[in-house]
Subunit: 169 residues, 2 copies
């Protein structure tokens, strides 16, 4: 069972080692990114996911929870408590839609809109501190986007018609 090389002459052991490295690298990069934003966002009183939600709201002004979730690929299980905290902090306002009583519309308060001005410094400081120029940022964004798309597809493939054994959902 040591001679399998179904992928370009790479042995299973090396594959596992490489997987270790790639998994760890992604995991570490994410947490490093998170850490930098954590520091940069501390003075704004926002966590990184809360910042993402505010970015969406600043851009669109007012959105139902469902739409925010679509923009960020997050479900209500994550967003509901997060939005309650943003509301408690005074940054957003939630109210039941009159059109559709199931839907809840979220929008920045005056305070939340004002926060945007202070937030403008964040990406500027990130750019300074990482030393990445616009080209690099755009390139990274594109790569990550493609990667995410490939992975989302992969998850579907695995989950649905999936692998060697059954593994029904």
């Amino acid at each position: 069972m040591h001679h399998t090389d179904s992928h370009g002459g790479v042995r299973d052991e090396d594959l596992l080692r490489l997987d270790h490295q790639i998994c760890f690298s992604l995991h570490a990069a994410t947490r490093a990114f998170n850490g930098v934003y954590r520091v940069a966002l501390r003075e704004l009183g926002l966590t990184y996911p809360q910042y993402l939600v505010m970015l969406v709201l600043w851009e669109h002004g007012e959105l139902p929870v469902k739409r925010i979730g679509e923009h960020l690929r997050l479900d209500s299980g994550t967003l509901s408590p997060l939005l309650k905290r943003l509301e408690a902090a005074g940054y957003v306002e939630r109210r039941r839609s009159l059109r559709d009583e199931r839907s809840v519309t979220v929008r920045p308060t005056t305070s939340g809109a004002a926060l945007r001005e202070r937030a403008l410094g964040v990406p500027r400081r990130m750019a300074e501190v990482t030393g990445m120029d616009l080209e690099e940022v755009r390139d990274l964004r594109t790569r990550l986007r493609d990667l995410a798309a490939a992975l989302d597809e992969a998850a579907q493939a695995l989950d649905g018609g999936g692998g060697t054994d059954g593994g029904a959902r």
Copy 2:
């Protein structure tokens, strides 16, 4: 203040929009990656972070909690409960070091070692499903590693001297 272009003629609004895109892309890519592994690891009864720990243990055989934490950049606050769950699942064994009573040594049980054979299929299926060849994987790993290093440095700079005006370095 709409004319500020401290970074190559890019206005603050665009910077914020770009930050939105890059933040979201990384966040989404990470969660997508996580999702694929979640599916692939389901049959092994491991979560993604548990898989990372097992990868380290398979490679090194036996390590104190401290060393595992250094390999994965995780602290005892994260590792202690995770290792207790791995122990409850019967995959690892923990025992107090005789040399130093503060230290706890972790090593795979027979069952945990056997799990390695089944885990060999995981990176293979990941490779299949993402369609990335070895070169791409290695390239991505390198990029992520560099990014993480730059970000870790950045966090230090921000945290340490990076006060109100963000002058650091």
